[in-house]
C-alpha cells in the first residue's frame, strides 16, 4: 500500500497556470486519450493524464517537482486528440513556465521576466548600462587607458580607420559584462538544479516511476552523455505528429546557438591569447561558421514565430513571445550589424550593435528565468529519465 497523499489544492496555482496559457486545465475528464496519443510518453505512469488531474486539482507540489513535465516536447498530439477541448500540451507548457519561476533565484527577477509590464525594465536596464559603457568607451578613452596601464594591460582593441564595434564599445566592457553574468547564470542554475534533481527524484520514487532509490551523480552524468545525441538529433521531437514541422526550426536555432558559442569561444581565445582583435576577415572559416549560424538563427526563430502566428490551436503567451522575440532580435541585429559594418555605415553599425547587446543581455541574464531555461531543465530531466530507467 502506498503512502496516503494529502491533497491540498492551491487556488493560486490554478490561476497561475491559467495565466500562463494553461486555461484548459479544468476541462479534462480523465479519459487518458492524451497519454495514448502521446508518441513519447512512457508506458509506466504515462503523462500527461496524471498531470492533467493534478493540474485541475491545483496540486502544485506534484507538478513543479515532476520530471515528466520536461519530457513533454509540447508537440500537441494530445491537444489535437482531446475529446473535451483540453490542451494538455499547453497546460504542461504553462506548468513548465511555473516550474522555471519556482526554481529560479531571485524570485522577484523570475517574476519580472514573466511579466509583460516589467519588459521596459528588462530592456531599459541593459540599455542604460550599455549606453554608459559606450559613452565611456568613446568619450573617456584616455581615462580608461590610464587605468588599464596601471595593471599593464592595453585598453583598446580598437582599430584606426576601420569600422569596428570595439571603437564604439570596448571589448573589455563586453566581456566584463558577460563573463561575470555567465558565471552568475551558471551559479543560479547549479543552485536550482540541485533542488530540481532532488525533487524530480523524490517525485519519481513517490509515483513509482523509477527503480532507483538514491541519486548516483556519476551515473546521472553518464546518462546525460548518452542523452546528448538524442537531444541533438531531436529524436523525441521528431516523433510528434501534429506539429512535426516545428522540429526543424528548433533544430536550426539550437545548432546556431552551438555554432555561435563555438565562434565566440574561438574569437575570445584569439583576442586574449593571440591579442588579435577583430574584425576578422570574411574569408576566415570561423567567420563562415558564425555567418551560417547567424543566418540559421534568424531563419529558425523566424519560422518559429511564423508557426506560432499561423497556429491558432496552440496557445502562445507572453513567455513564448518574449523569448522568441529576443532570439529573433538577437539574430537579426547581429547579422545587420555585420552588414552595416561591411557597408561602411559607421553609426548604423554602432546602433545595431547596441541593440544586439541589449538582446544578448536579455537572453543571457534572464536565461534561468525565461522559457530558455528549458535548455537546462529538459536536458536534466531527459538525462534523469535515462538514468532512472523511465520507460
Amino acid at each position: 500500500m502506498t503512502e496516503t497523499y494529502l491533497a491540498q489544492p492551491d487556488l493560486g496555482f490554478i490561476a497561475q497556470i491559467r495565466g500562463l496559457g494553461g486555461d484548459t486545465l479544468k476541462k479534462c475528464y480523465q479519459c487518458a486519450t492524451c497519454s495514448v496519443a502521446c508518441p513519447i510518453s512512457p508506458e509506466n505512469s504515462p503523462f500527461p493524464r496524471k498531470e492533467m488531474i493534478a493540474a485541475s486539482w491545483g496540486l502544485k507540489d506534484r507538478l513543479i517537482k515532476n520530471g515528466d513535465i520536461w519530457l513533454c516536447h509540447n508537440c500537441g498530439d494530445c491537444t489535437d486528440m482531446c475529446p473535451r477541448g483540453a490542451a494538455p500540451g499547453d497546460v504542461l507548457a504553462a506548468i513548465r513556465a511555473a516550474a522555471i519561476t519556482e526554481y529560479a533565484q531571485p524570485k522577484a527577477l523570475a517574476k519580472a521576466v514573466n511579466d509583460p509590464k516589467k519588459l521596459p525594465w528588462l530592456l531599459g536596464i541593459p540599455a542604460i548600462w550599455f549606453a554608459i559603457l559606450a559613452y565611456i568607451t568613446m568619450a573617456q578613452s584616455d581615462v580608461m587607458t590610464k587605468i588599464f596601464n596601471v595593471f599593464g594591460i592595453a585598453w583598446s582593441h580598437a582599430h584606426e580607420g576601420v569600422i569596428a564595434q570595439a571603437n564604439f564599445f570596448s571589448t573589455w566592457f563586453v566581456d566584463l559584462t558577460f563573463v561575470p553574468l555567465a558565471g552568475a547564470v551558471v551559479i543560479i542554475f547549479l543552485l536550482s538544479l540541485r533542488r530540481f534533481i532532488t525533487d524530480i527524484h523524490e517525485n519519481a520514487v513517490m509515483e513509482g516511476k523509477t527503480d532507483k532509490k538514491n541519486i548516483d551523480y556519476k551515473s546521472l552524468v553518464q546518462a546525460l552523455v548518452k542523452t546528448v545525441p538524442t537531444i541533438l538529433k531531436h529524436e523525441k521531437f521528431n516523433e510528434c505528429e501534429t506539429n512535426k514541422e516545428r522540429a526543424t526550426p528548433h533544430m536550426m536555432v539550437l545548432f546556431s546557438f552551438i555554432g555561435l558559442f563555438i565562434v565566440t569561444g574561438i574569437f575570445f581565445f584569439v583576442l586574449y591569447v593571440f591579442q588579435t582583435p577583430g574584425p576578422y576577415s570574411q574569408l576566415n572559416p570561423v567567420k563562415w561558421l558564425g555567418n551560417i549560424a547567424g543566418v540559421a538563427l534568424v531563419i529558425g526563430s523566424g519560422l518559429m514565430i511564423k508557426s506560432r502566428l499561423d497556429n491558432k490551436d496552440q496557445v502562445s503567451t507572453y513567455k513564448d513571445w518574449y523569448i522568441l522575440g529576443i532570439v529573433f532580435a538577437l539574430g537579426v541585429t547581429g547579422m545587420l550589424t555585420q552588414m552595416a559594418r561591411l557597408a561602411h555605415l559607421e553609426w548604423t553599425t554602432y546602433i545595431l550593435y547596441y541593440l544586439h547587446l541589449i538582446a544578448i543581455f536579455n537572453l543571457f541574464a534572464f536565461l534561468p528565468f525565461s522559457k530558455m531555461a528549458h535548455l537546462v531543465y529538459r536536458t536534466t530531466a531527459m538525462a534523469y529519465a535515462e538514468y532512472s530507467n523511465r520507460k
Partner: protein
Amino acid sequence: MDKKYGVYICTGCGIGDTLDMEDLVEIPEEEGLNCTTHPFLCSKEGVALIQKDVDDGKVNAMVIGACSRRVNFDVFRFDNCIVERVNLREGVVWPHSRETYPALTEEQKDDEEHFDRIQMKAEDYIRMGMIRLEKVKLPTPYLPESFSKKILVLGGGVTGMAAALDAAKTGYDVTIVEKTDALGGYAAKLRSQMPVSAPFETLQAPVADKLIQEIQGYPNIDVRTGCEVARIAGQPGEFTVTFKKPGERIPFDVPFPLPEEMLVDETGKELDPEAAHAKFLEYNEGRKDILNLDPDGELYGAVILAAGWRPADLSKMGIDHLGFDLPDVVSNHEFEQIAAKGKIVRPSDGKPAKNVVFIQSPGKDEDDADFDYCGSVTSQVALKQARYVTEDYTDGKAFVIYQHMRTPGLQEYFYKSMQQEDGVFMTKGSVTEVKTQGNGLEVTAVNTLLGENLALKADMVVVAGGMVPVTKDDPVVNLAYRQGPGFRDNDIFGQYADSNYICFPYETQRTGIYAAGAIRRAMTIEESIEDASGAALKAIQCVESANRGMSVHPRSGDMTFPEFFFQRCTQCKRCTVECPFGALDDDAKGTPKANPTRCRRCGTCMGACPERIISFADYTIDSIGSQIKAVKVPSEDDFDEPPFRFLALICENDAFPALDMVGLNRIDYSPDVRFIPVRCLGSVNTIWIKDALAQGMDGVILIGCKHGDDYQCHFVKGSELAEVRVKKIGDALSSLALEEERVAFVEVAIDEYDKLPKIINDFVEEVDALGPNPFKGF
C-alpha cells in the same frame, strides 16, 4: 352474428411459387367455403376484391392467407368483419425453401414414403385459421354504468402540479391532493435548482412558486391541501375516491389483505373462502370491505401518482466508516436545508464551511455501488451543492468523490461548467474513512484518479443520500382492491411505483394509476416535469379508452374483456390471486367480480382457471383448443415413417415478432412445428398442452418473454406463471407415461431472433430422440 365465411389466399411474395396452390385451395373448398386466390392481395385491386365481397354481403368472416398479421394490418381491416390472418409468408414460405424441401413429384404424392413438409404446414395453418373463425365472435365493448373523466393527482409537489397543469390545459378537471398544508413539495424548500435552459451553466430559483401561481389561473384545478386519500375503489373511469385528513381514522380507510400465515387454520389447512373473509373483516375491524362503495365518495376517471420521495435514512445504511455520527457529516438533504438558510456553515460551531467533501458512494473499496435510491440526479445535486460552496466563499473548495458521475443529456454542460470552477475538485474513488482531525475532518479514499491513497481535509462532509419513493413505506394509492391497497410486486422495481420501466413508462401495475416523478425513480425537477406530462397523457388516454370500452395498454384499443361462466365457478380464487393487475375482486363467497376497465386483456385469468370458464370474445379456451385439434397429426396409417408434429404456443408480444424476423431473414427451422400466437404465456391453459399430446402431437413448446429481475413480459407475471404451470404439468405427464421433456418452456427477447431457430430445432431433436408420442393414432 350470422357468419359468412370466405378464404382469400395471396400467391405473391413467393407463396404461389413454393406452395401447391391447387391442393391448398382444396382445403377450404372441401369444407364448402369459397376460396379466392390473388397474386397481389394487399394491392388496391386485391383489397377491393375482398371489400366487394364484404359489401355484397357475401363475407363477414374471412381467412386471409398471406403475410404475417404484424404487417398490412391496416390494409386488411374490414369493419364489422372477423379477419383471421394466416401467416403463409413469414411463417411458411420464407423460412422454408424448396431448395431445402423439394416439391414432390406426382408419383411421390401418392406413395406412403414421401411427404411435403412445407405444404403440410401451410395446409394446417389454413385449417387452423378456418376453425378459429368459427369459434370467435366480434367483441361488444364494456361500458361502465357511471363514468367520470376527472383526473385525480396525488401529491402537490412539482410533479403533481405540472401533471395537473398539463391535464387542465387539455380541458380535463383535475383535483390535486396534498398531504401537507401547502403546495410546492420538496422543490419549494431548495436554495436553487439545477439549470433547465441553455447554456445550462447557472443555478436557478426553484420552479415551485411559478407553478403554484400558474395553478391559480386554472379554475378546473381543485387543490386540496391537508388532505389524503383514504381509499380508491372501483375501476378506471369510475373510481370512487374517499378523502380524509391525514392521520384520521374512518370506516372507509382501505382494508389490508390477510397476511399469508392467517389464510390457514391451526392444522395448516387453507381456510374456505367464507371463513377467510370473516377473518379478513375481523383483521380490518372498523374498516369496510373493499366492495362497499362509499356513498359520499367522489368519482374520478384516472389517477396520477406523484407522491414523490423522502430522503433516505443514512443512519441505517451501515456506513459507520463515513462518520455519520459526527456533527459535521451531513446528508445532501441536510446540506440543502443549511444552504437554504444562508451561507454554508458547519452544524457543529456555525463557522463557515469552506472545504466541503461530497461523498457519492458508500466506498470502503468493496464495490462501486452508489447509495440505494440514487441516480443521475444525485450526481447533479452534488454538483449543484458544490456550486453553493464556491458561491458562498471565493476561496471555497468543494471536493466530489464519486464512483459514477452521471449528468445525462444537456446536464453535461452543467457538469462541464462545474468542472471549470477553480474551487471544484472531482475524482472517482472509494472513500475508506471519515474521521475527526484537529478542528475539522479528514476524508481518506482509495483508487482515485490521483493515483494513490488520497487524504483530504474538510470542514464538512456531505453524503449523497438517495430519494426513497414513498411507496416503499406506504401504499399511498390505498386501492380498495382484493390484492391489497398498494402495488404488489414493487420489489422487482426497488420499491418504485412502476410496471415496466423501459417499455411502458408511467404505467404502474394498476391500470388507471399512472406514476410520475420521483416515485418512479430518483429524478431531477426537470425530469419530473417531463414525466408529469407523460403521466397526464396516459391518464387522459385511460379515460378516453375506458369510456369506449377499449383496453388502454399494452393491447390499446382491444374491446374484448374477460367473460365468466359463473355457473361453473368453484370459487378457487386463482384468477383473483394470479391477475398481475389486481383486476378481479372476489366477494365474500370467493366469486370473482370482474372490473373490466382495470383489465389489460392478457388472459392470465383464462390460463389460470381450472374450470376454463373465462374467455374473451375472440380468444377462448375453445378457439385455441380447436386450432390445436385442426392440426393434422400424421400417423403410420398415412406414412411409413410419419413426420413428427409439434405445437408451439408463442407469445405475440416479443417472441412472435422474433419468429417473423426469422422468416424475414429466410432462416430455416423445423417445418414440423405449428405455431399459435397467444396473448401472453400467462393465458396458456394447460388443457391446450394436454389436448395436443392427447391427439398425438409429439411435443409442445411454450415460447415467451423473459421474466425475473430484468423481465420483459408485457404483463409482468405471464411468462413466470407459465413456467410454474409447465413444471406442474410434468407430473401429470409422467402419470400418462409421457416424458416431461415433451413439454418445454423457453424465453426469448424480441431481438434474439437469431437464437430462435436453434431453440426450436434443439427441442425437436430432443423429442425426436424420445421417439414418437405413444398416443399417436388413437
